[in-house]
Symmetry: C2
Subunit: 463 residues, 2 copies
C-alpha cells in the first residue's frame, strides 16, 4: 500500500508494502532535500507525529531520521527538533567510516581523518585528466598491471624521493586503493609467511585492529610518548605498524634514536616495519622529517596516500616495498584489487607538471593558519585544556580539563552543533592517555572553520 | 657496477649491481621506446649479442625482450629479429591478464576480452567529470559508502531497467571494481553461508576457476549447447555462474525455456544464480534480450560492467543483489575494496545526460560492421572454418578446419604478426568443443581492424 504524506505542502510518497520501509522513507526524504523540495532549515514533523500519520512504528521513523542526520542531510538540535541541514556542502550522502569513530554529524565537524575536501583542485585536476588522456596511448585503458600504471609509479618515485626522502624505485612501487588496501595486502603476505603477531602503537587507528582481526593476526602494542613509539619494547613480533612522521592520534613524531632502533630491531629479528605516512607532507614548525623507509628500504614497507593531500574519495595509495615483498604482494592481488587507471594517469600528470607540489604547499599554509587559530582560541577561551601534537599533520590532541570526561565533551559539542571525537576509541592497549579530544582542524570547509572552533571553545566555557 | 651499451647510437644504462637486472633492462628499453630514443621499426641486437656485450646470461636478456614483446613495446617476427613496435597505440605497458589466456602480443591483436579502447569517449568523459565536480557537494570526495556513490546507483537503476530489463533499485546496487571484485565478494558470501560448490558453464572464463580456488569452492560444470547452458543438469550445487546474454566464449544465448528452468532450479533448491552480463549491451540480429535477473530478482545476483562498453581500465562494475545478499556483501567489503568516487560521479553524469547510451549505440554500429567484415572475409578466404556466436557481443567462435590444431593456428597467426587465442584454455570440464579460435573483433583500434582480419584469413590460406 503506497502511503502519502506531506511536509510543509510537499507531498511525500512511500510504498509501505515494501519490506524496506525505513530505507524507502530515507530515500524519499533524501531526494526531497537533494532536489530542493525540502528547503534548508525547514523543521520536520516529530518522528512520533510522522509515525502516527503513516501508521508505522515510531522507531522506524526515528531511525530513518537518525540515518539522515548521520549522513548530514538533516540536523537534530536539542530543543529545536529535526531540520533540513543548512550548508549544501554538508547535505550529501556521507556514511564516513574512516578515521572517525564517532556517530552523528551535526552542522560543524572537527573530527579527525579528512582534509578539507572542498579545497579539491577541481579545475586543475580536470585539466590534468585531459592532458593525460591526450598523451597516453589508448592501451593504458585496457586491463591493467597489478602494480598500477607505470606513469604514476615513475612520477611517485621522483616525488617521494624529493618530498619524503623515500628510497623509491618505480619497480618497487605498487599502487593500491588507499592505505586500507595496502595494509590488507601486507597482512595477507605476512600471514602467508607464517607471521602471527603485529604490533601497533598503543593509541592508533581502530581500523588497524579490525584489519588484524580479519587476517587473524594477533595484536601487540607498544607505548607512545613524546618521542613517538617506544620501539625498545618490541620483542619477537613479526611486524610493527608505525606512524613516524606524526603519530596518529597523539601527534608526536618518532625521534632519531627511535628510528635507528626501529630499523635495528628489523635487522636483528627479520621483522617488518610498516610505515603509515598518512600526513607526512604537512609539517609546520620544523624541517621536513624524511620517511623512516630511507634508513632501511629492505626492512620497511612504506605506505603513502592521496587521501590527506587531495581527497579520501580518490582511494589512491601506494606501497614502496622491500625487494623481498614485491612478488608476494603482487601474488596477493586479485584482479578485483586493481585501481582505476584514469585517476592514476591524472595524478601522474598532476605530479609531473608541478600541480601536486603547488597544491600541497597552498594547503600547508592554510592548515597552519587554522592550527594557529585553534591554538589561539583554545588558549584564550578554554582554560585547563592542553593542546599537543601540533608540529605537523591535520589534527591536534586537546587534553581535557580535570573533571571533564570525553563523553561529556562529545555530548556538549553535539549540543552546540559540532561533531568531535574522543581519544578513547583509539586506545589499543596498555596505559591510556588522559581524556582528550582528537581535533581534525583540516576537516571543515574554509567558511565553516571559525564557527567550528568557536563551538569547540564553547564546550569549555559552559563547564 | 653500472653497465652502458648502445643500440644504434643510443646509449643505454643499467645498474648491474642491482639484483633485478632483468627489470632494469626492461625499464631502460621501455623508456627509450616510450621517449622515442628508439624509433619504431628499429631492429634490436639479438639477445645473444646484447648478453655478451653486457656480460649477462643470455636468458636474462631474452626474458626482458619477451616481457617487452608481451607488453607491446617490441615485436618479434620470425626471420627478422626483434624490433621496436610500430603503432604508438600499441607501444604501451600492457600486461593484460584478462579474458585473454594467451601470451605474446605482436603487431595485431584479435584476442577476446577487450573493446576498442582507442574509441574511449575522451572529450565527453572529461566534460562529464567537470560537470560532476561542479554539481556534486564536496563531501562526495570524502571517505565513501561501501555501496558506492548514490548518484551512480540512481543512474544505473534507471539505465539497467531501461536497457537491460533489470529489476533495479538503487538500494540493492553495489558498485565494485569490475566483474572481478563483484564475483570475489559473492564467493566470500557464499563461503560464509556454508556453500561448497559453484557450477560454471563448461567453457568459460578461466579466471572464474582461479577465483573458486582462491575461495576454496568446488567447481562443477554444466554443458553448453546452442541454447546456452544446459541448466537441467544442475543438481545440488550452491550456485551457478551464467552468461545468459552471450555465452562466453561459445557465443550462444540462453533460451527462454532454459531461463525459466534456471530460476526454477534456484527457487527449488535455494541456489543462487550469478548473471555475468559482460556484453549484454551489444546485440545485432535480434531484439534485445533482457537480463535473466528480471525473472527472479531475489534469486539472481546480476553483475554488470563498464569494461566492455567503455574501458576495462576504469575497473567499474556493479552488482544488483537479491535482498538477502545485500547486507552480507557489504559486510564482506573491507575499506580496501572501495572504488574511487571520481569515475563513479563521472559515469553517473555520463548516463544521466545520455552520453552513455549514445556511445553504446555508436559502438554497436561499429562492432556490427566489423563482425560483418569478419564473416565476409572468412567465408571468402578461410574455407573449412565455421563462425558461430555472432548474434551479439564482441567476439565470435571460429571453428577450425579439420586437421588444423589450435596450437598450429595460434603459432601461424603469430608468424603473421597477429595475436589470437584458442578455445582450449576456456574448457572447464566435460565434453570439449572441437578446436576453435575465440576471435575478439572489438579489440583492435579501427585503423588496424582490416589488417588484423586479413592476417587471420592468411592462417587458413597457408594451410
Amino acid at each position: 500500500m503506497p502511503a502519502t504524506w506531506a511536509i510543509s505542502g510537499v507531498d511525500m510518497h512511500v510504498d509501505v508494502e515494501n519490506s524496506r520501509v525505513r530505507a524507502s522513507i530515507e530515500r524519499e526524504l533524501r531526494e526531497a532535500v537533494r532536489g530542493g523540495r525540502l528547503p534548508p532549515g525547514l523543521r520536520l514533523p516529530s518522528s512520533r507525529q510522522l509515525a502516527a500519520d503513516l501508521g508505522l512504528a515510531r522507531n522506524t521513523v526515528a531511525n530513518a531520521y537518525g540515518q539522515l542526520v548521520a549522513e548530514g542531510w538533516l540536523v537534530a538540535r536539542q530543543g529545536s527538533g529535526t531540520r533540513v541541514a543548512a550548508a549544501v556542502a554538508d547535505r550529501d550522502h556521507r556514511t564516513r567510516a574512516a578515521r572517525t569513530p564517532v556517530t552523528a554529524a551535526p552542522g560543524y565537524d572537527l573530527r579527525a581523518g579528512s582534509p578539507d575536501v572542498s579545497a579539491f583542485p577541481t579545475a586543475r585536476w580536470v585539466a590534468a585528466l585531459r592532458r593525460a588522456l591526450a598523451t597516453t596511448p589508448a592501451q593504458a585503458l585496457g586491463y591493467g598491471d597489478p602494480r598500477g600504471r607505470v606513469e604514476l609509479r615513475d612520477a611517485l618515485a621522483g616525488y617521494l624521493a624529493r618530498a619524503r626522502g623515500v628510497h623509491a624505485d618505480p619497480e618497487r612501487i605498487v599502487i593500491c586503493s588507499g592505505f586500507a588496501q595496502g595494509f590488507d595486502l601486507l597482512c595477507v603476505v605476512l600471514r602467508n609467511r607464517g607471521a602471527t603477531t603485529l604490533a601497533v602503537e598503543n593509541h592508533s587507528w581502530p581500523a588497524y585492529r579490525s584489519a588484524l582481526r580479519t587476517h587473524r593476526l594477533r595484536l601487540a602494542t607498544v607505548p607512545v610518548d613524546e618521542d613517538g613509539a617506544v620501539v625498545a619494547s618490541l620483542t619477537d613480533e613479526d611486524a610493527i605498524l608505525l606512524t613516524p612522521a606524526h603519530q596518529f592520534p597523539l601527534g608526536s613524531s618518532l625521534g632519531p634514536v627511535r628510528r635507528t632502533a626501529a630499523v635495528a630491531w628489523a635487522a636483528d629479528t627479520g621483522g617488518l616495519v610498516i610505515e603509515d605516512d598518512y600526513d607526512g607532507e604537512f609539517r609546520y614548525d620544523r624541517r621536513p622529517l624524511g620517511a623512516l623507509q630511507s634508513l632501511a628500504p629492505d626492512s620497511v614497507a612504506y605506505v603513502g596516500t592521496a587521501s590527506k593531500t587531495l581527497a579520501p574519495g580518490l582511494r589512491l595509495g601506494w606501497l614502496v616495498l622491500p625487494r623481498s615483498l614485491l612478488d608476494p604482494v603482487l601474488a596477493a592481488k586479485t584482479r578485483g584489487d586493481y585501481t582505476g587507471v584514469l585517476d592514476q594517469l591524472t595524478l601522474a600528470q598532476f605530479i609531473a607538471y608541478g600541480g601536486y607540489d603547488r597544491h600541497i604547499r597552498a594547503r600547508r599554509l592554510t592548515y597552519r593558519r587554522r592550527r594557529d587559530n585553534l591554538l589561539r582560541t583554545l588558549a584564550r577561551d578554554a582554560p585547563g585544556t592542553q593542546v599537543t601534537g601540533i608540529a605537523a599533520g591535520l589534527h591536534a590532541l586537546v587534553t581535557l580539563p580535570t573533571g571533564l570526561t570525553e563523553d561529556e565533551a562529545v555530548t556538549r559539542a553535539a549540543q552546540h552543533g559540532l561533531a568531535v571525537g574522543g581519544l578513547r576509541p583509539y586506545h589499543a592497549g596498555g596505559q591510556p592517555h588522559p581524556p582528550a579530544l582528537v581535533i581534525g582542524y583540516a576537516t571543515p570547509p574554509e567558511h565553516a572553520f571559525t564557527g567550528a572552533v568557536a563551538r569547540l571553545a564553547a564546550i569549555f566555557r559552559t563547564q
